[in-house]
Structures are given as structure tokens and as C-alpha cells.
Amino acid sequence: MAVNVDIQKQLGDFRLDIRFKSSARRIGILGASGSGKSMTLKSIAGIEQPDRGIIEADGRIFYDRERRISLKPQERNVGYLFQNYALFPTMTVEKNIAAGLKGSRKEKEARVREMIRKFRLEGLERHLPGQLSGGQQQRTALARIMACGPGMILLDEPFSALDMYMKDQLQRELSGMLEEYPGTVILVSHNRDEVYRFSEELLVIDQGSIVAEGETKALFRDPVSREAARLTGCKNFSRARRIDAHTVEAADWGVTLTVKREVPEYIKWIGYRAHDFVPVWETGGNGRMLPFTLEGIAELPFEKNYYIKTGSGATVCWFVQREQEHLLDEKGMPLFLAFNEDKILFLK
């Protein structure tokens, strides 16, 4: 199991240039809309044609410009789950599942029955997609893909059209259903929670190229590039000036931070997640902490967002979860926000 993608495509002003190799079973691709992540997935499936490059999966060459190879989507044996599931609206559930099957009628019927059972669609065989719930539609779409025995499965933003409750439920369902699937699965999403939850390895795409890649959890801990940090949910950025191996100045915030870790030479930005600030009520933190100058508050169901104005005019967000709010109720607003040095992100 391995995927090797190295493709380029020019679309007007937009340039897609994606290179990655991975042998992970679950690969996530994180990117904003219009970053080229869907285009990458469609190129792997053969729905879109790159201008040049190579696409290889499990030792099979799907596309090789130099050798003039380009398998049709029909020949690639890749399952593609569309955001809207793309169920055939005039076909019943069982006809949808049978749509791509080859072989005798008997074999097809047996396969459809097996899928119906496996994906808990009993009783819905004669229903049209329009009569199904979101979850049933997803199961039908997945049953239709699995019926063909795909060598690889591509999930294209499968949850982004759903409300939060449904999203969680369908994510759990999908993970469960894919558990036994031995092949590679690639999930494309703009939602960091989805990819964090799903993927072993993560690629972060911005404006047509990969800005970060690596083991998912490690990448969230240390995103390396500013774009990757932003896409993984980091809210606060400041320009950084490296003073020495263990000291760095966050220019936009007016603070100088001393750390035990080594500050990398490449550092251009410092990132800090809004949840990671530590409130300080004592005086004396000047120069190492952010003075707490409140600009505004936004109240959410499970947390409060505080917006702090820094000396240079930049705004910093501090998210306080509900369990911690009692501290603020008791002690009042803090004087400073301190940094936990392990949580500081050094970024390119």
C-alpha cells in the first residue's frame, strides 16, 4: 500500500503543484476551499486530468505523462465518495448498489444482498435516494463503492454539508465502516477536527501546493509553516525575531520569550493557540507576558472568547473553556496572559 502523487496543473491563474508519497492507510488532506485539494483527489480518481506528472497507487500506474499512460476512471478501481453522495436519483437503493457490478445476475444479486446486510440497509432496498435520511444515503453510497471492491477509497468533504449533530454521528459511522477496509483511504476536508480524528498522516495544502506534511498529531503539535498552523486552528501569529538560540522576540505582541528548546534559524513567525494562554493575576510580568487590555468578548455555548489588544495594535484571541471560567469569576480579569513555552509554535 503506497501512494505516489506528483502532479502539476495550470487553471487560469491558479497553479496546482502537488507532490507527496505516503504508505499510510489513512491519509488526510487539509486545505481551505479553493486550495486544490478536491482537484488533487479528482486527479487521482481520473475525473480530472493533470497537465503533467505521475500518479501511482499500490504499484499500479494510473497516470504518467512521460510514458503517455492515463487510465480511465473506470480502470482505476478507485472508490469516490462525493460530498452530496451522487446517488443515482432514479434508481432504488439496490439498483444503485448494483450499478457498477459486473458478472451474472445471480452473482450481482448475491453481492447486493451482502452489501445491504453489511451496511444495515435492510428494508430500504426499494427506496429511492430522495426518500432516505442523510445517514442512510451515506451508507448506500459507501455500499455502492464497497460492492465494487475498490483498491483505494477517496472521501471528498463527506461531512461538510451536515449539521453538527449529524456530522458527529456520521463520522463515527464512517470510521466504523472503514475499519475493516484494508486499502488506502484519503480524506479531503477543510475541517481540522475531521482530519485530526480520521487520518494517520496529514497533508496541508494551500494555494495549490503542500505546505506541511507528516504524522497527523505531530503536525498539529508542530505545524512548521504559518499556513499549516492557521489551517490546524492556530489563531494568533506574530512576526518573530530570533535573538539567540533560546530567545525570540514576538514583535507584534511586544514580548520577548525565553525557551529551553532551540529556536530554529528559519523562524519568521511565532504562533500561539488561543486555548493555551495562562492567566496571571500578579504584577511583574512585563516583557515576557501580554498585558491584558481587553478589546471585546464573544460568548459561545461552551467557551468565552476574549480579544486582547497588544501594544502594536494587533489583536490576540484567548479562548476560555467553561470549566475554567469560575477562576475569572472569583479573581476578576487577569493582569497578564502568560505563554506556556512548550506550546509556542516556531513557524516559517
Binding site: Q74, L87, T90, L128, R144
Partner: protein, 234 residues
């Protein structure tokens, strides 16, 4: 009233059968040609599409007599194509029932084509992509996914095509003429009896056409209403 009964008793029903036969034949041809052309147009590049579209829609915009003029030029036995058809295949178009069918098809075809094309353009491309990744051939995707999904548009195109073919007058009168019992369609019959001042017979024929029109549309709505369950109601 007695007069009407008398006319009905003595009525030559041939225009009805000629019109129905012509309408059915023209609709049958237009149905497949129209869907085929729509498929080509949807797949073509924008520039090609504009050209195809222009040519195929022309008969609908042109006055039918002008279309009839072109058809006459093409099929006249004194012209190369017409004489070729006659000598090689013994086919006579001018002044024959075949002429009726060709005239009606040419005039009604754009309705089928345009409706089918509009319906296909509405289709979510992901359905096509999904079919491809599932290993279905493009032809199979077309007949089992696209055509049924575009069903309502294609059905209404078929109804309109039939209605238009049934009532065709201008091009038919030029190409096929009005030979009673052979090419005399209802429209031509109505025009003829009006010229003789026989308003009663004309009125009876108008009534017959209206009944047919209502029946067909009612029938099609019934069929499409049953088959198109997946489409939501407003």
C-alpha cells in the same frame, strides 16, 4: 346539429390518420436524434456547442415555409440529392407521405433537442463522475443515469415535439403538398375547407385536434407524474 351529424357521418377520416402517423413517426425520429444531438452538444466545447446549437435550432426560428423551401431544394428530383435518392433507393420525398414525415421532423426536432439539452445540462456532473469511478461505461451512464434523471425534461420535449409535428403546416404543404388520402394532414384539411368557406367542417376538425392535444398531454403528465417520484413537490 343535424348538419354536424351529417358531416361526421360523411367525413373522410384520412387526415386524422395521416396526421397521427406523421406525428408519431416524426416524434420517434426526433426523440432519438434529439437526445443524441443533445448529448453531443453537452459534451462539445463552448464554441462547437454554439455552432451545433445554431444549426439545430434554426428550423424552429425560421418561418416553416422557408424551411420548406430549403427542403424542396434538397429533395426535388431535379436536384442532385433528390435524384440520387430516387435513382439509388427509389425514394420519393416530394409529394409523398415521407415528405410529410421529413417536414414535420425537421420543424419539430429542435423542440426535442433543446428540451433534452436543457434537462441534461441541469444534471449534477458528480453523477457522471460517480458512474465512471464505479466502472460504468459512458454509454451505460448515459442511458441508465442521465436519460432517466433528465426524464421530466425529455418527456416534456417529447410532448411538445409531438404536438408540433401533429400540427405542422407550412413546410409540409410545400414539401408534401395536400394530396387527399396520402399527404393531406388535418392542418392542411382545415386550411383547405376554410378556403371553400366551409366553417363547420373546419370547426369539426379543430375540435378533433384539440381533443387529441388534451389527451396526449394528459397521458404524458400521468406517466411522468408516476415515474418521477424522486422529484419533490413545491
Amino acid at each position: 346539429m343535424e348538419e354536424i351529424v351529417k358531416i361526421l357521418e360523411e367525413l373522410d377520416w384520412s387526415p386524422l390518420f395521416i396526421s397521427l402517423k406523421t406525428g408519431i413517426a416524426a416524434t420517434f425520429i426526433s426523440f432519438f436524434l434529439g437526445i443524441f444531438a443533445a448529448r453531443k452538444a453537452v459534451k462539445a466545447s463552448p464554441r462547437k456547442k454554439a455552432v451545433i446549437d445554431g444549426i439545430l435550432t434554426l428550423p424552429m426560428v425560421l418561418p416553416p415555409t422557408a424551411a420548406g423551401f430549403f427542403l424542396l431544394l434538397l429533395f426535388s428530383r431535379r436536384r442532385p440529392f433528390g435524384s440520387f435518392l430516387f435513382e439509388q433507393f427509389d425514394l420519393k420525398v416530394v409529394q409523398t407521405w415521407l415528405g410529410c414525415v421529413i417536414a414535420a421532423t425537421v420543424i419539430a426536432f429542435p423542440l426535442m433537442y433543446r428540451n433534452a439539452r436543457a434537462a441534461m445540462e441541469q444534471i449534477d456532473m458528480n453523477l457522471v463522475y460517480a458512474g465512471r469511478t464505479l466502472g460504468m461505461s459512458d454509454l451505460r451512464i448515459f442511458w441508465t443515469v442521465i436519460v432517466p434523471t433528465a426524464g421530466p425534461g425529455i418527456a416534456s420535449g417529447t410532448v411538445l415535439t409531438f404536438a408540433r409535428a401533429l400540427g405542422e403546416y407550412g413546410a409540409t404543404s410545400m414539401l408534401a403538398g395536400n394530396i387527399p388520402g396520402r399527404t393531406g394532414t388535418i392542418s392542411q384539411k382545415i386550411a383547405m375547407v376554410i378556403q371553400d368557406g366551409d366553417y363547420l367542417t373546419a370547426g369539426i376538425w379543430v375540435g378533433i385536434v384539440m381533443i387529441i392535444a388534451f389527451l396526449i398531454i394528459f397521458l404524458m403528465n400521468l406517466i411522468s407524474g408516476k415515474k418521477m417520484k424522486h422529484i419533490g413537490r413545491w
